[in-house]
Each structure stands twice: as C-alpha cells, then as structure tokens.
Amino acid sequence: MNAPLRRLAVVVTAMFTALMLAGTWVQFVDAGRLRDDPRNTRTLYEELGRQRGAITTADGTVIAQSDPVDDQYRFQRVYPDGPLYAAVTGTYSVTSGPTGLEAAEDEYLSGSSDRLFFRKVSDLVTGQEPGGAVVETTIRDAVQQAAQEGLDGQRGAVVALDPTTGDVLAMYSSPDWDPNLLASHTRSEAAAAAAELEGAEGDPLVSKATSQRYPPGSTFKLVTAAAALESGDYTPESLIDSPAVLDLPQTTAGLRNDDGQACGSNGQTTLADALRVSCNTAFANLGMALGQDELGAQAEAFGFGEALDVPVRVARSQFPTGLDQAALARSAIGQGDVTATPMQMAMVAAGIANGGVVMQPNLVSTVRGRDLQVLEAPRPTEVGRAVSRQTAAALTAMMEGVVESGTGRAAQIDGVAVAGKTGTAQNGQSAPHAWFTAFAPADAPRVAVAVFVENGGRAGDEASGGRVAAPIAKSVMQAALAATEGSAG
C-alpha cells in the first residue's frame, strides 16, 4: 500500500501548492486591486490611523497637519488657516475621501507610496510609528494673503506663478470655505457641512482658479496679438481697421467697442494701440484675417485644449472649432465660446514673461520623509514654446503700454515696470466678468498673475478689468516681488 500512499503524498503536496499559489495571488499579485476596492475599509482606517504628513507653504507655514485624537481614526486633520488655503489643500474627509492636494499627493501624505517602502521597513524594525511624508508647496504666504485681501470676499480667483519655473505662488478661489468642517470625524457633522457648502451661494467647493472656465474677454487679445505677430504679417506698428461698430458677416448684430468710438484716427489703429486701449473691432478684424486655425493653434501653444495636473487638476480651457466669421470675430476678443480658467490666463502672461516658453504650473516644491530626506522635488518642466523670443518681447512692450497709458493703469507699481492686459468679459445678461493678467518686472519677470472677478464683484455693471481686477493684481504682484526679493532674476 506504499505506492498509493506515496501518490497520495504527491496529491497532498499539489493541494498545498495550490493553496500557496492562491495565497500569493491574493496577497501579492492581486493585492493592489483589493486594497483599492472602495469597500475595503481597512485602507481608509489604515491611512487614517497613520499620522498623515503635513502640507506646508514655501515659507514653512503648516497649512494642513494631523493631530492625535482619542477616537477610532486616531488622527484629526487640521487646517490652521483653512479657508485661505482651501483651494490648494482641499480637504481630507473620512466620509467622501480627499480632494485638492490631499488627493493629488495622497500616496505621499498617507505614507502608502512605494517610495516610502524602505522607510516603512525601518519603521517596522525600529518599532517607530509609521507616518506619511511632508509635502512642501510652492505657495508664498504673503502672496496668498494678498490674493484673499484683494478679492475681499468678492467672487473670483487669483493665480500667481513664477514665470521662469511655473511655481504657483498663490492660488485662491473666493468665496473660500473651511476644510476643517468637512474633515470632521463625526459623519453627521461632515455630511451636514458638505451639504451646506454644496448648496452654498457662489459654489465655494468648486475652485474658480482651476475647475471653472469663464470667457476670458479681452485678456484673450494677448493670444490674438501673439498669433498676429507670429504669422509674420504684422508688427506692433501694423495698421488695422478699427471702426466704432464692425458689421459681422451673416448677422444683424454689430460688434462694438466698449466706448462706442472708433479707435485711433481715420478708422485705423496700430496693433500696439489696439491692445493698449483694448480695441474690440481691431482685434475682431485681426482674428478674421488670421483665421480660426492660426488662432486655435496659438491658443493651444499657450496650453488651451489640455487638462493639467499641477498636481491639482486644472480643467481644460477651450478655443472653439467650426466657427463662422462672426463667431471667429467674437472669439478673437475672448467672447463667444472661448473659455479659460484663471490658471490658463496666468499661463499666457507667464509664457510671454518667460520669453515665449510656457512652464508647467506646479504646486509641489519638495516631498520629504519624516527623516527630512527629500523623496521628490519636481524639476521645472516646459509645456512648450508658445511664441518666439522676439514676439514675446514685442508683446511685453505692448503690455507695458497697457499699464503705462492704457486700460491697466491701476496696476502701476512705483519703480517697477508692469506688463498687463485687462479683460471685461460680457456674460449674457449678467454683469461682466472683470479680468486682469500681468507680470512684473517687465524686463526680468518674477511673477505672473491672473485675477478674475466674477460679474465684476461689488462694482457690478460698472465693472471693468482695469477698475476691479487690476488693483488686486497690483497688490498680489507687490507681495510676490517683496517675497521673492533677491531670490530670482
């Protein structure tokens, strides 16, 4: 009976081999999928039970931290200056998961990233409580504060970039909201806060800086002007027809200048002057002359048409296709179906400021393990060259004209050359959106900014980009210049 017993031993070995293979499958091969299953509460408990890494500004201010508490989650996420940085941090909700940077950098913050593997092994050996990595952002305290103070409760958004690196110096959306409310461990409290914020006036949870798109109005004339200069058929001195009212083909409605007057003399104006006074009819003519392909290509070169992860998600700004001449004319002045995020318009200014090269906006400066070892430090990356160095220089000179003697005089800073462009975007029956996008110093830019004030803010129907948005841009740029004094050139 030994032969069958030995065969039985082989069968038993095969049975156990099958079990070991199944174990390997479940615990190793398929484990990632199982861990990510939303029904797996362990993953959430584990992350909540681990001390999540802090989020700080570039100045070292802690804007999100995990404090030990005596409940099942063990750590409470706390946002010391919550509303100010809400558009950056997002929140860490135990009921609906993370948002903002909390979501985008979750692997590091929670400590689940594979980059932390050796850290975790050493924690295991030394018995040290495991924890997440610290994310240092590129945000500068003073610039962020200037953005909040500038908007002063008006609905809108401010984005400030370092044009040479793409570092996001400020990213603020108003009305702001308090991430602490959503991070409550009491489910009912968190749910009530979420319901209230979701239904709140002005949709605070949706970032106006990155998630919402608006007609950019005349700030888009920078793109049109760039396309004109890049075509080689135009210089800043080229003369363009600029009547008071432009008859649009196939429509009865004409396209008017804001003041109802023709620009320049004899119904013609130079490209530079057209930008300086934001002449609608001149740019509409220019757009129709260039065609939608050139205009669309130029917009894409600045970043339109692509969503971005900075690493917070930035919605895709759009330049429409399939336009007739009338729609093309409206698009050339940033009306019609052109829509852009404030982040995108900051990228346009930053690209011009950086000699024509658009840098990828980036919020994360460094990620450090708890031993302060740098785990990740994103290098500046280019989105691409939007315009030639010559075109960028010409546009800069034209934008300086806007601030010196044009529609953007409110953005003038003593002793600093500022280049900018206003936008007053018609918005159906509602009051127009006020825009301003600019950079400074014009000769060696250290900050590029886009300010967006929804429906003109408190100025309402009286609003214009120059009146409402330009002063905010001015104070944000001043804060940025002060903060980066001597640190860049």
Partner: protein
C-alpha cells in the same frame, strides 16, 4: 537515547543505529512554545505598548501541557515521530495568540476557552498515548467504530440535543458545553474505514469490466462506496454541512484507493462526487449561494446579499491583501472586520497580520504534519496501521484544503475550521487525538525490530523498496 543494541533487520541498509529523537522533539517543542509566546506578547506590545502580564503564565501553561505529552511519549512511545508534537504545538500556540489578538480587538473571551480546550486536547492525546499500547487493538472495534461514527454524525439531528447555528445543524449542546460531534466522527470513521478496508481490500481489488481503458471494479463491490456517498449526501441535506460532507467522502475515496491501488475507485468516486455536487447545487439554494459567492464575489448584488452573500469572503480577501508580503504585524491589522475571524476565517487574520510570509509558513507546517503522517503510513508494517495513518493524515490535509481553499477562493467556501489554529473545542480535541494516534503508529513504525523480527518478516516487496528509497531517515 538510542536503542543501538537492536540489530538492524538484515534486508534494510541502515548507516546509523536508529535513534528515538525524543530530545529533538523536546527542543523543537520548546521553540514552538517560545514562538507562540512571542506572538502572544506582540499582541500586547502592539495594542498596549508593553509586554502583557499574562505572557509567562501563557507560556508556562502551554509549555507544561506539551511537556506532559512529551513525557508520556518518552514513556510509552519513545520511537514516535519527533516532529508531530512540535508542529501541532506551534499551530495551536499561534492560533491562541491570534484568537487572543481578536479578543483584544473585540473585547471577547475566546482565547481563555481555547486555552481550556487546548489543555483538554493535549491531555486527551496524552491519555491515548499512555493507554493505547498498540494501534492494532483498534482494529477489533471496526464495526463498533462504524456504529459510534454514525451515531456521532446523527447526534446533531436529535431533538433538544442538536443546535442549529447559522443554518448548519452540526452542533450538540449538553448543559453549557457545545460540541461538534462531526469532528470526533472523523477519527472514529477513519478507524472504521481502515478496519473495513484492510479486510475487504482483496475483494475490492478484484477486477470487473474494462471501460475506456479503465479497469472497473465488480459492480457488486460498489456497495460500500455508494453507502458512503449516500451518508455524505445525508449530512449535506440534513445538517446542511457542505464541509463535513466533502471531508468524509473525500477521505473514504482516498482510503479506498490506498487500500486497493485501483485508480478506477478514484474515477468512480470523483464522478459520484461531481454528480452529488451538481445535484446539491440544483436542489439547494444555500449551495447555489455559496457557488455564486465563489464565482462572482465582487459583484455588488452578491456582496450585499445577506445571508448567503460574499461579504465575509470579500472582507477576508481584503484582510489578506492588506497583509501583503510581510503583514501588518500582530495586533496592528483589522482582522476583526471579518465575521468569524477567530474560527472559519482565522487564516485571513493570520494572512493580514503575518502576511504572505506567515501564511506560507503555516501552510508548510501543515504540509510537514501531513507528510509525516503519510510517511508513518509507508513505514508502519501492518496494513491497518498504513490505512489509519494515511487516512488520518489525509483528513488533516483535506480539511486544510477545504478551509483554506474556501477562504482563498480556490473552491467555494464551506464551514470547516483550520486544524489546531482556529477557535473550536471539538476540532482542537479531535486533532490532538489524531496527533496521539499518529504518535502511536509512528512509534510502531520506527521502533527497531527485535532480534526475531516476527512482525517485520511478512514484508511486501513494495515495502522493501520503500525502506531503500527513503530520503529522510528517522
């Protein structure tokens, strides 16, 4: 320690004099108790930050019990296999630590009761080693065993005695003590199978018609197999216990094969099994639910269904996944998320906190235990001993496969517990009794033959081969 005076049998080449290896047993048992103590202590370290006060008492208690069994083996079974007791001790001790860990998480008191059952189990094993001087005595009780086994199987169906727990009618309750007679029936019926088959093997080996190249047995000899099959189906239908049913039938078929060496019995057994399985599947909704939960556990509907859904299985898989390669560390996972984490799903607890590494190690421990049992079967000289050792070892293997396979989604989930590891008094006592019987049989197998090898002389040729080809010398 060695009986070096005994002359080796003339036909066996033995390079060294045989050694009893009792010191090896003692040393490995000490290691097993030590590892179990460490596991127990780590629960305290993980949850309280300090070594628990009870660790020494726990270690001393487990150690003393194992020492009693060890001494009994020295006294009455000095040639017994030295690995059986340490492996069983380690599994039992790890199980205790894991159950204690779940107690801490859920404020339960399973571990204390499991410790009492461990004591009863080890003492029962000791009693068997002391009282049962020769396993062949059991052969005299072949048909008594049959009757006792069937009574044990039927016991849960007796009104007022049987208890229905979670839909399965496999428990009896006498006063405060609950017991699963099926676990004891496993041993008793293995004794019966061995006794019956060693007698009937010649008849059962006779060949009948040849079909498709397969030499079938005579139809009239199919009776016992059909009876076993019907009994298994009866367990399934009346007690709604898929696992026990599978275990008994598989065990019988395996022993039938060992006794007759005829592959045709396996083929017939497998077809009967498949037939029974399809029948059960088509007739019973709870069987269908198990199969659905096995095939499609992540489906939202299957997951949400209660009872009979895949919630437990999926949560168990999440536990395994959470453990990954190295595990969360004892006391640092969340195994209490899984229903019945201390019994049916103890493996998920193990996999989560000790990782794939721990799971594979424990599976290997079982494999060692089973293979030592099968080795005992090949080494012992009498046919009854071969069948009994082989059957008992295979019963452990099959039970492991059915439970672990269910939890790891190799096969549909059934209600059985991991031997030694899982919470459950009946199972623990029964498995220690199996270890005792294997100790007894392996003592007979390894004992050097006396000068006149009367017992060893009627050696079958195949057994000579076995001695010559043994890789591991005991």
């Amino acid at each position: 320690m060695s009986g070096s005076a005994a002359a080796p049998p003339a036909h066996v080449e033995v390079p060294r004099p045989p050694r009893s290896r009792r010191w090896l047993e003692l040393g490995l048992s000490a290691v097993a108790v030590g590892v179990a103590m460490m596991a127990y202590g780590l629960v305290g370290v993980a949850t309280d930050g300090s070594w628990p006060a009870g660790i020494l008492g726990y270690g001393a208690g487990l150690g003393a019990l194992v020492l009693v069994l060890h001494v009994a083996a020295r006294w009455r079974a000095p040639w017994a296999d030295p690995l059986l007791v340490p492996v069983a001790t380690l599994l039992n001790g790890l199980g205790l630590a894991l159950i204690h860990r779940l107690d801490v998480a859920r404020d339960g008191s399973f571990a204390e009761r499991q410790l009492v059952w461990s004591a009863i189990g080890i003492l029962a094993a000791t009693a068997i080693v002391v009282v049962l001087r020769d396993h062949r005595v059991l052969r005299r009780y072949t048909f008594t065993a049959m009757v006792v086994g069937l009574v044990l199987l039927v016991l849960p169906l007796v009104p007022f005695l049987g208890v229905n727990i979670n839909g399965a009618q496999i428990w009896i309750r006498v006063g405060p003590v609950g017991f699963q007679p099926g676990e004891l029936a496993k041993i008793v019926l293995t004794v019966f199978f061995a006794g019956y088959l060693v007698t009937a093997r010649d008849t059962l080996s006779l060949v009948g018609p040849k079909v498709l190249g397969l030499q079938l047995p005579r139809p009239r000899d199919l009776g016992p197999l059909v009876v076993a099959w019907l009994a298994s189906l009866g367990v399934l239908v009346l007690e709604r216990d898929l696992g026990t049913s599978l275990l008994f039938f598989g065990l019988f078929v395996a022993m039938l094969y060992v006794a007759t060496q005829r592959v045709s019995w396996i083929a017939i057994g497998l077809s009967l099994f498949v037939g029974g399985a399809v029948l059960a599947w088509s007739m019973f909704s709870h069987v269908q639910a198990r199969v659905t939960a096995w095939l499609d556990p992540f489906d939202a509907e299957v997951y949400a269904q209660s009872p009979g859904g895949s919630f437990q299985l999926v949560q168990g898989l999440f536990g395994f996944a959470n453990g990954g390669l190295l595990g969360t560390g004892i006391g640092q996972g969340r195994p209490q998320t899984v229903p019945y984490a201390e019994s049916d799903f103890i493996l998920a607890t193990l996999g989560e906190e000790m990782g794939l590494t721990g799971l594979l190690a424990v599976l290997l421990l079982y494999l060692v235990l089973v293979e030592r049992g099968l080795r005992t079967g090949t080494a012992v000289r009498d046919g009854f001993g071969k069948l009994l050792a082989g059957g008992l070892a295979f019963a452990i293997a099959l039970q492991c496969f059915v439970v672990a396979g269910g939890v790891l989604r190799v096969i549909p989930l059934t209600g059985l517990t991991m031997p030694f590891l899982a919470y459950g008094g009946s199972s623990l006592v029964a498995n220690w009794m199996i270890v005792a019987l294997l100790l007894r049989i392996s003592d007979a197998a390894r004992r050097p033959s006396p000068e006149t090898p009367a017992e060893a002389s009627p050696v079958l040729p195949s057994e000579q081969d076995a001695s010559a080809t043994q890789v591991v010398r005991l």
